[in-house]
């Protein structure tokens, strides 16, 4: 042995074949099987984890994984079937509780089993791609217990029944519910959805369908809405408490559909309590609720908005076309403003200031304000009233507010040029009679109009103001240069630039000597400083203050028109005058003379003259004397007013005609302007462009535009294209 070579020490694999006793696998499995039984029988405490783990490990190692796995399935199934039977036998409320308890048990068991079989789970199962132990346990539970014919339906019905109970006011065991439903979730999302959620949603839909029908038969709109709010809150709470979070959106939409969407039309149109009623009665809370509920459903808000719009248009149309309401223009406009304020507030308080509602409000107003062709005139009269007296004592900010509101109405007008015409007339009267409450307010409004419509619109109006100021300065200059005139009648002159002021016919009359002397002096003074101008006295527009002493010594100061002054002064030289004599002396045109005599002889409280005979109308054979018995409480008596009034029908026609005439050159100017830059343009486009350009002033009539185009063709401004008769060409 000493001659043996020294060998390297090698460690070789254990070559000895370990003979595995075929019975070994059976034996080992038996141990594990027993363990599983014990676990299910709540006898796990006596088991050794380490030993069981090693046994399982060995089985897998020695290629008996199959046996182990199959055995596991069989054993578990056996136990689950037992469990299933016991649950089936449970009565009443115990059913669910037992199910829950057994489920918990199974989970615990499964946990332990999995721990024991972890090696198999990690190796054998992965390679053979079989289901992992935990999942396997869930599947087996699902298939053997939940899907068992006797349990499946009963389980679902029990759960739905409990939900129904809770919905009808009973208290249920929420914890139990949560656990059982969580079981569904644990078994897989599709199990939850198909076996619980879907039937749950269907049952809920049924429930709410019935509920909503009941409510809608018995409640009015406001009450119903209150009732409809509750389920939305309840169901969300339910989800939080015992359902899967993903169900929230689904159940909410079920409630929305059944309680709200299905009844939108009926609710909105409900007689005596629907939207219209709410609008009329300013039911902010109800409307707010309606808004927040209806916005959840498709077309909910659209319906609300449409009903509101329809109502507004109807109401507005009635308001505007009612002849009663048109009697007092100021009232008329005030009503419009009030309605607008009301709806503004509604949209603000109940409809979340929703812009689409604001737009609907504006378009409705635009629609009906223009239904009455006198709206422009009335709005101007409203402003006139405010600027004369309505704004007396009102603070600056409030004035601004009122004028802004007026501007809002103004924006709705399609015929802004008609408004301009009236506004000019009314402004002229205000300025000349000195009857404006606040110069600042006047200017404020002009600025607003300028911002809205541009410089063109207001340049003439501003001219009127300038004339007033200039006249004032001129007058000062006149009196400064004629100090001798400080004794004697005081003359106040306003020099109006023709073109800025509304056109008036110039009426001449014979002024009393004292006055005409002064007038002449003024005229020469003025023309001395302004060459190349022509002055004409507008005797139909002036006023005079006269001091009068009557028969019994009563002294009064009379404020009269210029015409009236001429007539009265005649009585300084004659006691009694006939109509004809007065006419001859004053040369006042007959209709004006009759009117001014009537206001002095036939109106109670202003009858400074007595007429023979005492009839109401002025006839050419009448005679006049001073009324010595004239009496008035006031020292200053005003006779004859120059207040702006609603036009009579013929006056209205005349104004409208003038407006129409004025529009013609504007349309032509627009056509020429457009054609000059485009050179060639087709018919439809011209109409569209012209309408757009004139939009800020008035709505141009396509027929009128066509007429103007033809007129321009005749005057060789435009021609038709020879080949394409739809085209027009500009002729330079």
């Amino acid at each position: 042995m000493s001659n043996q070579k020294k060998r390297n020490f090698q460690i070789e694999a254990f070559k000895q074949r370990v003979v595995v006793d075929p019975k070994y696998a059976d034996k080992t499995w038996k141990i594990l099987e027993h363990a599983i039984h014990e676990i299910y029988n709540h006898n796990a405490s006596g088991l050794s984890f380490e030993e069981l783990y090693r046994n399982a490990y060995n089985m897998v190692l020695h290629k008996y994984g199959d046996k182990l796995y199959t055995g596991l399935v069989t054993t578990m199934t056996f136990h689950l079937k037992e469990i299933c039977k016991s649950i089936e036998e449970a009565q009443g409320g115990a059913f669910l509780e037992l199910l829950n308890r057994k489920w918990n048990d199974h989970n615990k068991a499964l946990q332990m089993i999995r721990d024991i079989l972890m090696y198999m789970d990690r190796t054998y199962v992965s390679t053979t791609k079989k289901t992992h132990v935990h999942e396997l346990g869930l599947h087996l539970w699902r298939d053997n217990v939940v899907y068992s014919s006797k349990i499946q339906t009963r389980l679902l019905n029990t759960l739905l029944d409990l939900v129904h109970k809770e919905r009808t006011g009973e208290v249920i065991d929420r914890v139990l519910m949560r656990n059982v439903i969580k079981m569904f979730m644990d078994l897989g999302e599709s199990v939850y959805q198909d076996d619980f959620e879907k039937p749950f949603l269907e049952a809920s839909a049924e429930f709410y369908k019935v509920e909503s029908m009941e409510f809608i038969e018995s409640c009015d709109c406001g009450e119903y809405l209150k009732k409809a709010e509750k389920p939305l809150v309840e169901e969300v709470e339910r989800v939080v408490n015992y359902l899967d979070a993903k169900s929230e959106a689904k159940i909410t939409s079920v409630v929305e559909r059944e309680m709200i969407a299905n009844h939108v039309q009926r609710l909105v149109h409900m007689e005596n309590s629907g939207l219209v009623n709410m609008l009329l009665n300013d039911k902010y809370e109800d409307m707010g609720r309606m808004y927040s509920l209806f916005r959840r459903v498709a077309n909910g808000l659209v319906t609300v908005r449409d009903v509101m719009t329809l109502h507004l248009r109807e109401m507005g149309k009635q308001l505007v076309t009612d002849p009663e309401k048109s009697k007092d223009p100021v009232e008329f406009v005030q009503r419009l403003l009030d309605e607008r304020d009301k709806y503004d507030r509604i949209i603000n308080m109940a409809f979340n200031n929703d812009k689409t509602f604001q737009n609907a409000l504006n378009s409705s107003f635009e629609y009906f304000v223009n239904l009455n062709t006198r709206s422009p005139e009335f709005i101007s009269l409203f402003v006139d009233d405010k600027l004369r007296k309505g704004l007396k004592g009102v603070g600056e900010e409030d004035v601004d507010l009122i004028l802004d509101k007026v501007m809002m109405l103004f924006r709705y007008l399609q015929e802004k040029d008609v408004f301009e015409k009236y506004y000019k007339q009314h402004l002229a009267k205000r300025l000349l009679s000195g009857k404006t409450v606040s110069d600042d307010a006047e200017r404020n409004l002009i600025v607003k109009l300028k911002t809205e419509c541009g410089y063109q619109f207001t340049s003439k109006l501003e001219g009127m103001f300038t004339d007033m100021k200039t006249s004032h300065d001129t007058l000062l200059g006149f009196y400064n240069s004629h100090p001798e005139l400080s004794e004697g009648p005081t003359l106040v002159v306003q020099v109006l630039t023709t073109g800025s002021w509304p056109t008036q016919p110039t009426i001449q009359c014979n002024l009393p000597a004292e006055v005409s002397v002064l007038c002449e002096k003024f005229r020469s003074y003025y023309l001395g400083t302004h060459t190349g101008r022509r002055l004409s006295w507008q005797t139909n527009m002036g006023t005079a203050d006269i001091k009068a002493v009557f028969g019994k010594g009563q002294k009064h100061e009379l404020n009269v028109s210029t015409f009236q002054m001429c007539v009265l002064m005649l009585f300084n030289n004659s006691d009694r005058l006939s109509y004809k004599e007065i006419e001859q002396a004053t040369e006042i045109p007959a209709p004006d003379l009759k009117r001014c005599l009537q206001s002095m002889a036939c109106v109670k409280g202003k009858n400074v003259l007595r007429k023979e005979p005492m009839s109401k109308e002025i006839a050419e054979e009448d005679w006049f004397v001073v009324n010595d018995r004239f009496a008035s409480k006031f020292y200053k008596v005003k006779i004859g007013t120059v207040v702006a009034q609603k036009e009579t029908e013929p006056e209205k026609q005349e104004t409208r005609q003038r407006v129409e005439e004025d529009r013609k050159p504007q349309i032509e100017a627009a056509i020429v302007r457009i054609m000059k830059s485009r050179r060639v343009l087709d018919h439809n486009n011209i109409i569209a462009e012209v309408t757009k350009q004139l939009q800020t002033r008035f709505l141009a009539n396509p027929t009128e535009i066509k007429k103007r185009i033809e007129s321009l063709i005749e005057r060789d401004f435009l021609e038709r294209d020879n080949t394409d008769r739809k085209l027009y060409r500009y002729l330079a």
């Binding site: 087709d682 018919h683 439809n684 109409i687 396509p702 027929t703 066509k706 007429k707 033809e710 063709i713 005749e714 038709r720 008769r725 739809k726 085209l727 027009y728």
Partner: protein
């Protein structure tokens, strides 16, 4: 003359003589034609004004066996490019008859149907139609024609082809108050109307297009009548 040279010469001269003859023959012929045309002119012309005046035209018409309100006279005027209604100048006469190759009354009479065919060709008719309008403008700077005359003119120019439209339109013109005269634009509009719009249903008429306003009103009037 030597034969050969003469032959040549005569050959040449024959040729030139022939062409000369030919030319002179044709020019003689055309001269003769023009003479006859002039002669014809003088038959109808007013001696003092050297124009064919309305009287002359009436005589011409009776010789042609055509009424003086017949459209063919108007067509003749068109062919002549006559400027003044009721008068033909010498130059216009020459122009027209030469174009028609007519130098006698008979030839002129025979040329009329051909002339009518020519004018009625769509390419010419629009021009003729416009010409008819201008022909009726008697004053300088006149741009429109009074309703009465328009009605007559319509009858003449369009009466045979658009009977119904003419009748309706004439009736309308007489009762409406918007227009006292018709201008060229409206006149041409009517022509387009007759050619393009189906009558009397007028289904394809659109008042929002560039039709003259008088036609919009006309269509509206008819539609009201039909309702």
């Amino acid at each position: 003359m030597r034969r050969s040279s003469s032959k040549k010469k005569s050959g040449q001269s024959t040729e030139s003589v022939t062409t000369d003859l030919f030319r002179s023959a044709s020019s003689k012929a055309s001269n003769k034609e023009m003479d006859r045309i002039d002669h014809l002119f003088n038959q109808y012309a007013n001696k003092s004004s050297s124009l064919i005046d309305p009287e002359g035209i009436e005589e011409l018409c009776s010789n042609l066996e055509v009424s003086h309100t017949d459209i063919r006279i108007l067509m003749l005027a068109w062919k002549m490019k006559a400027e003044k209604q009721g008068y033909f100048t010498h130059e216009e006469w020459r122009r027209g008859l030469k174009a028609l190759r007519a130098d006698t009354i008979n030839k002129l009479k025979k040329a009329l149907p051909e002339l009518e065919k020519e004018v009625r060709r769509p390419s010419n008719f629009a021009d003729f139609y416009a010409y008819a309008f201008c022909y009726c403008l008697t004053e300088e700077k006149q741009k429109s024609i009074d309703i009465e005359t328009i009605c007559q003119l319509l009858e003449i120019v369009m009466g045979s082809t658009f009977r119904a439209q003419v009748d309706y339109f004439v009736e309308y013109l007489k009762i409406q108050n918007d227009y006292k005269v018709i201008n060229m634009d409206q006149w041409m509009g009517l022509y387009r109307f007759c050619n393009e719009i189906s009558f009397p249903d007028m289904g394809n008429y659109n008042p929002e297009l560039a039709w003259p306003l008088i036609l919009d009103n006309f269509v509206e009037w008819i539609q009201e009548k039909q309702a």
